[in-house]
Symmetry: C2
Subunit: 390 residues, 2 copies
C-alpha cells in the first residue's frame, strides 16, 4: 500500500486537478466531496447508505466527539472508524470552528482557547496540542490544526494578529505529531479574512511547516459570493501544487465547482444533509422543495438522472407524503439523495477534468443553478459562526 | 400461482399451527409477525431494511392513510404497494380502532361512525362500506371489516349490543366486496369484550359470513394479562381450523407465544418500533434499555444471537451514543433490530412447531421474559384506546 500522504496528480484542466490521495484507510479520488458526520454519524444515514451512495471519505467533528461521547472513550473502542463502523478514510476538524461558533463564552490566549460546552455549560480548554491529542484518540486519517476562524467583519488589524497566532498554533500542532506517525496526516489552515495580502502571508508562514496538505478556512462565514470567490480564486492557485488542497465548510454546487476551478481538491459541507432535513433537494435539474403542493401527485422520481436508492425506488409524491407526515424515513431518503447528488457532482468533475471538459461542465451547472452560489446557500453553511470572535 | 386466500396447514404442535397463506402479493409463512406501517412507512426503516430483516407482510393503517395523503391519491399512484415501494403482502386495518382511540369526538350509529380528524379537527364519516372502499383504493392484500373496539371496562350489556352491530357491519362489508375480487381477502373481527360467552356469540355470528380469515379484536386494551390470556385461550382454539387466525395489535414476545399456543397465526404490534424509538430493545437475553450508563463502554453487539444489520455492525456503546446524542440513525438501527427480533421469534416458532418442540421454545422464552407478557407491554400496545367508547 502506498504511504499515507502520497498525492498523485493524474490530469489537469486549467487550474483544476484530478488526483489521488493515499491515506491509511485507502485512497481518495479527487476532487472529492466529504459528507459531514458531526457526532459520529452522518445525520439520518447509515454507513450502508454512504457506501451505496459512493462516499470515499467522511468528516468527524472533534468538538462534538470530545464532548460526547469523549475522545478517550472512542479511543478505547478502537478509534472512530471502528466505533461507527466506517472502514474508509475519515477527516476530523480541529474543533476550533465550533469553539468559536457554538460556545457562548470563550476566552482566547496564546496558550489556547477556553470555552463552555454547548451541552451543559461545563468549562473546557483546547490548546493546539490538545486538539491534536483528541484527533489522535479519534484515529482519523487526516487531522486539522487548531485555528481561529475569524468571522466576517473582523477588522484588518485583528485578522492580521490572529493569523499569526494561528500559524504559531499550527507549528505547535506539528511539533507534537511526527509527520507520518500512525499513518495520520495533518493539514494546515490558511486564514487572513478577506484580504488577499493577509491570505498570502498566512500561506507563506504555513509553508515553512511540513504539512501533508493545506486548507482554506474562514470562508462562507457570512460574506457575499463575490468576496468568497475573490479570495478563493486568489489563494487557491497559490497553494502548493504537489499537496492536496481543502476548502473547509463550502458549499453549494456552484461554490464547489468554483473551488475546483481554482485548483481545490477537497470539500465538505453540511448543506446537503441539513437541506435534506428541511425538504430542500438538489437535482440535476435544479433545487426541489419537496414540500410543495405541486408534487402531491407527481409519480416521477426526484431526479430522473440519479441512481441513488431514493430515486430508484420512490416517487416525488411519496417523498412529499413522508415529509408532510413527518416520517423519520423522510430524513434518510432525502439525505441519502442529497449526498448522492454532491458525490455525483464531484465524480462528474473528475471525469470532466480527465476529458478536458471542466469549463463545459461548470457552464452546464451554471445554466441550472445560476452563477451565484449563494442562491443555494440558504439553510446555513457549515462554516458560519453564530458569533464573531475579535 | 395459488389462488389468494388458500391456506395450507403443514404441521401442528398441540393447538399451534404451521401454515402458508397465499395472497395476491405472494405467500406468507405462519405464524407471522407483521410490522406496522401506519402512514405508509414502518417508522424509521425503509423497505430495504424490512426485506433484509425478513419481513413477509406489513400493516397499513386505513384511518391515517385516508386522512393523509388520502386513499384516492394512493389509488391514483397505483395503490399502496407501489406508493411505498413494497412488493410483498400488505394488510390494512379498517380504521375503526383509530376512530375510537384517536378521535376526541365521535358519534356512532347503525349507519357508521362520525369522527373528527386528529390532524385538523375536520369532520368525517366511516360506514362499513366506506371502510372497504378505502381499503380497495389502497389495494391491500388483506382488508379488515369495520368493527367497534369496545374498551376495557365497558359493561356487558353495551358489549353485547355492540358486537351484534359489529356483525351487521361485517355483513355489509362482505356485501360490497365479492369474495376473491381483485385478489383482496377480507377478515371478520371477533369482539365480545372479556366475556367468553359473548366472544363465542360474536364468532358464531361471523361464521355465517364467508370471510377468508378471522381476527380477535378488542384485546390489549388495558386489561390484565390474565384476562387477555383467558379470552385468547378460550376463543383462539374455537376459531375455524381451515382459515387464518389473526390476533390484532398484540403484543409482547410472551403474548405472541401465548397466541401461537392458542392456535393464532398472525400478529401485529407497534411495540417493537415504538419501544425502539424509546431505546428499549428486545434481545435473545431479555430487554435492554440502551440509554443505561452500563453500556457506555460495552463493545459487544446488542444481541450476540441476532443477525440483523444493527447487531452485525455496531456495538452497544455506539448505539447508546447515538441514542444519547439524539442522532436520527438511532431510530433506524434500533427499530431495525426490534423488528428483526420479532420476525426471528416467529421464525423460531415455525421451526419449533414443525419439530414438535413449541412448548420447549415457549418455556425457553419464559425463562428470559417471565410468564407475564405485561412486563414487556410498557410503552403502550397498539390496540389500547386512549378513550373508551360506550
Amino acid at each position: 500500500m502506498p504511504v499515507p500522504g502520497r498525492f498523485t496528480i493524474h490530469a489537469r484542466d486549467g487550474k483544476a486537478r484530478r488526483a489521488t490521495l493515499h491515506t491509511a484507510h485507502g485512497e481518495i479520488q479527487t476532487p472529492v466531496f466529504m459528507p459531514v458526520g458531526t457526532q459520529g454519524s452522518v445525520k439520518a444515514v447509515g454507513p450502508d447508505d454512504l457506501l451505496q451512495a459512493g462516499s470515499q471519505i467522511i468528516l468527524g467533528n472533534t468538538y462534538h466527539l470530545y464532548l460526547r461521547p469523549g475522545d478517550e472513550l472512542v479511543a478505547r473502542r478502537g478509534g472512530l472508524h471502528r466505533f461507527m463502523s466506517w472502514d474508509k478514510p475519515i477527516l476530523t476538524d480541529s474543533g476550533g470552528f465550533q469553539v468559536f461558533s457554538l460556545s457562548t463564552i470563550r476566552k482566547i490566549s496564546e496558550k489556547g482557547v477556553e470555552f463552555r460546552s454547548y451541552l451543559d455549560g461545563s468549562k473546557h480548554f483546547f490548546s493546539p496540542e490538545k486538539a491534536i491529542s483528541i484527533q489522535q484518540n479519534l484515529g482519523s486519517d487526516i487531522m486539522m490544526v487548531l485555528d481561529e476562524c475569524v468571522g466576517y467583519g473582523a477588522d484588518r488589524e485583528y485578522t492580521a494578529r490572529s493569523l499569526e497566532r494561528t500559524t504559531r498554533w499550527a507549528r505547535r500542532c506539528r511539533e507534537v505529531h511526527t509527520p507520518g506517525a500512525d499513518g495520520q496526516l495533518m493539514f494546515g489552515i490558511i486564514q487572513g479574512g478577506f484580504h488577499e495580502d493577509l491570505r498570502e502571508e498566512s500561506l507563506g508562514q504555513l509553508l515553512e511547516i511540513p504539512f501533508e496538505g493545506y486548507a482554506i478556512g474562514g470562508l462562507s462565514v457570512g460574506e457575499s459570493t463575490e468576496d468568497m470567490y475573490r479570495i478563493l480564486n486568489h489563494i487557491g492557485p497559490r497553494m502548493p501544487e504537489e499537496k492536496p488542497r481543502y476548502l473547509m465548510g463550502v458549499g453549494t454546487p456552484m461554490d464547489i465547482l468554483e473551488g475546483i476551478e481554482s485548483g481545490v481538491d477537497m470539500f465538505d459541507c453540511v448543506l446537503p444533509t441539513r437541506n435534506a432535513r428541511n425538504g430542500t433537494l438538489f437535482t440535476s435539474q435544479g433545487k426541489v422543495n419537496i414540500k410543495r403542493a405541486e408534487f402531491r401527485e407527481d409519480d416521477g422520481p426526484l431526479d430522473p438522472n440519479c441512481q441513488c436508492y431514493t430515486c430508484r425506488n420512490f416517487s416525488r409524491a411519496y417523498l412529499r407524503h413522508l415529509y408532510t407526515a413527518r416520517e423519520i424515513l423522510s430524513y434518510r431518503l432525502n439525505s441519502l439523495h442529497n449526498i448522492a447528488f454532491f458525490l455525483e457532482l464531484a465524480r462528474q468533475a473528475r471525469e470532466a477534468i480527465e476529458g478536458g471538459r471542466f469549463a463545459e461542465l461548470k457552464a452546464h451547472y451554471q445554466g441550472i443553478y445560476g452563477t451565484d452560489g449563494r442562491n443555494q446557500r440558504k439553510g446555513g453553511a457549515h462554516h458560519k459562526p453564530k458569533r464573531r470572535f475579535g
